[in-house]
């Protein structure tokens, strides 16, 4: 009973905050709403007896969002609230494709929900030991593949971040630059 109430509260919160992410004009507020929505999803997991997934959701996503936050704060000027490309209202034409995609997702969710999904109360979701065993035996290939994808992402990020000729100028002592 208590878990049902928790589930519906968290679900409503998740939908509301996620919509606010899209609606709000202030980039920092958007990131904050995103964090709240992730929290709400973590609560949903908790109400479905998956505390491990809930905590991992907070650790992984809160940690990752922090970096996003950093970029937002660095990109916006100190006043933050005004005069940026990101804060302009989108035109009709710009809304067509995202709108169509959102509609498609909504239809998919409704269809899959009405088809009747089994309750996701798997024992492996609450016990990290069981989950670990499952991941590293049955889904071993998937773990490996996602690891490789992450590695590729890191290398790609490093490559793009280095740029072309920047390292050579950075190696120079500061005196050379001032001359």
């Amino acid at each position: 009973m208590a878990q049902n109430i928790l589930f519906y509260l968290a679900a409503v919160m998740a939908v509301a905050t996620t919509s606010m992410v899209v609606i709000t004009r202030n980039a920092v507020y958007a990131v904050l709403y995103l964090i709240m929505s992730l929290f709400a999803v973590a609560l949903v997991f908790l109400s479905l007896n998956a505390p491990f997934l809930a905590l991992v959701e907070i650790i992984v996503y809160a940690g990752a969002i922090m970096v996003l936050f950093l970029f937002v704060v660095m990109m916006l000027n100190l006043q933050g609230q005004r005069g940026d490309e990101a804060t302009k209202r989108p035109t009709r034409r710009q809304m067509i494709v995202p709108g169509a995609l959102a509609l498609l997702l909504l239809i998919l969710i409704v269809v899959s929900l009405s088809a009747g999904t089994p309750a996701a109360t798997n024992a492996a979701l609450s016990d990290p030991k069981l989950l670990g065993e499952l991941l590293f035996t049955k889904h071993y290939l998937g773990v490996k593949l996602s690891g490789i994808i992450l590695l590729i992402g890191t290398i790609g990020g490093l490559h793009i971040g280095r740029g072309g000729s920047i390292p050579s100028t950075m190696e120079k002592p500061i005196d050379d630059v001032t001359h």
Binding site: P51, I58, I59, A62, G63, M66
Partner: protein
């Protein structure tokens, strides 16, 4: 999740939790003021000066004077700040630090030993410590002044970087204990404390803990001679005090986690468990202060280099060594997953 109490009615579980939490919070809030005094006294002693000695005998009433001053000062909110976030930021850091105390075990009793004998305690600690960063970055951003923003950015980059090595060092200890429950981690240290089996892990955790709590030599976010006071430049009175409180609670919390994971927690001869915990936390707190009084502040690029080029590779190495140890000497760590 409360384990031993799960058959009792809900109101009873809640009542027990509230009693435990009130006792712990009362003790913590009461003791923090005197910890500040202790820190000032220890630093004074290390630097050969008397330290605060005017309020009461040996300056013992200094915390009372400090708190009265902070409470009666004008609560100023500058006109240029983002009000909601400006007020929320100091609350976030104090709340996340306080909630984390729920999982520290003070004794072997499954009901009264810890506020929440959570099976996923280590994960909850990591989750809450990653949330503390939001307080700093929000304080920096909402203050809308250049020093605050710079301090906030520095703090964020620093805390994200050191959180990695912190969690990886913790992971190695978890590997040896074979559990994420702090009370069981303590029980897994029956023959040897983990500081003997995990000396490198303890070192990595300690250095990362100092960086996580933003204390000297890693106090760049609030370096006063370049950033005024960093992210809390615009804060005054009680809101500033909350940042201060959050920092101290963070230090005691990290000391508590270190005592639990590496120093055998509440284990010890003769004296009861909580006393041993307090003693171990006190020793670790002293080392925190000792380091603060001894080392100068790092340069910012050095700080990042230490984090990314030394601590994280060391932590990975430690993980690998631990995994090999656990597999080759199963008798040494009977609880580890084989």
């Amino acid at each position: 999740m409360t384990g031993a109490l799960s058959n009792e009615p809900l109101w009873y579980q809640l009542l027990i939790a509230v009693i435990k939490a009130s006792v712990l919070m009362g003790a913590l809030l009461g003791v923090t003021g005197w910890l500040v005094l202790a820190e000032r006294k220890i630093i004074a002693w290390l630097q050969g000066r008397p330290g605060p000695n005017r309020a009461g005998p040996m300056g013992l009433f200094q915390p009372v004077a400090d708190v009265l001053k902070l409470l009666t000062k004008e609560e100023s909110i500058p006109p240029f700040v983002n009000k909601i976030l400006f007020i929320a930021a100091p609350a976030i850091i104090t709340i996340t630090a306080m909630v984390s105390y729920a999982i520290i075990p003070w004794g072997p009793n499954p009901v009264w030993g810890a506020i929440s004998n959570l099976n996923l305690g280590v994960l909850l600690f990591l989750a809450l410590s990653s949330l503390g960063v939001y307080s700093i970055v929000l304080a920096g951003w909402s203050s809308n002044s250049k020093y605050a923003v710079l301090g906030g950015l520095r703090a964020t980059a620093q805390m994200i970087s050191y959180e990695l090595s912190l969690s990886m060092a913790l992971l190695a200890a978890v590997m040896m204990a074979g559990t994420l429950n702090f009370q069981l981690i303590v029980e897994a240290q029956r023959p040897f404390w983990f500081i003997l089996l995990q000396p490198l892990g303890f070192f990595i955790f300690f250095v990362s803990a100092i960086a996580e709590s933003r204390r000297t030599p890693f106090d760049l976010p609030e370096a006063e001679n370049e950033l005024v006071a960093g992210f809390h430049t615009e804060y005054s009175a009680m809101k500033f005090a909350l940042f201060f409180l959050g920092e101290y609670m963070g230090v005691i919390l990290l000391s508590g986690i270190m005592a639990t994971v590496y120093l055998g927690g509440y284990q010890g001869p003769i004296l009861p468990g909580p006393v041993w915990m307090i003693l171990k936390i006190a020793v670790l707190f002293f080392v925190f202060v000792w380091i603060r009084a001894t080392y100068p502040r790092f340069r910012y690029d050095h700080l990042m280099q230490i984090g990314w080029k030394w601590l994280i590779p060391l932590a990975v190495l430690n993980l690998i060594i631990t995994a090999v140890l656990c597999l080759t000497f199963p008798n040494l760590v009977p609880n580890a997953i084989h």
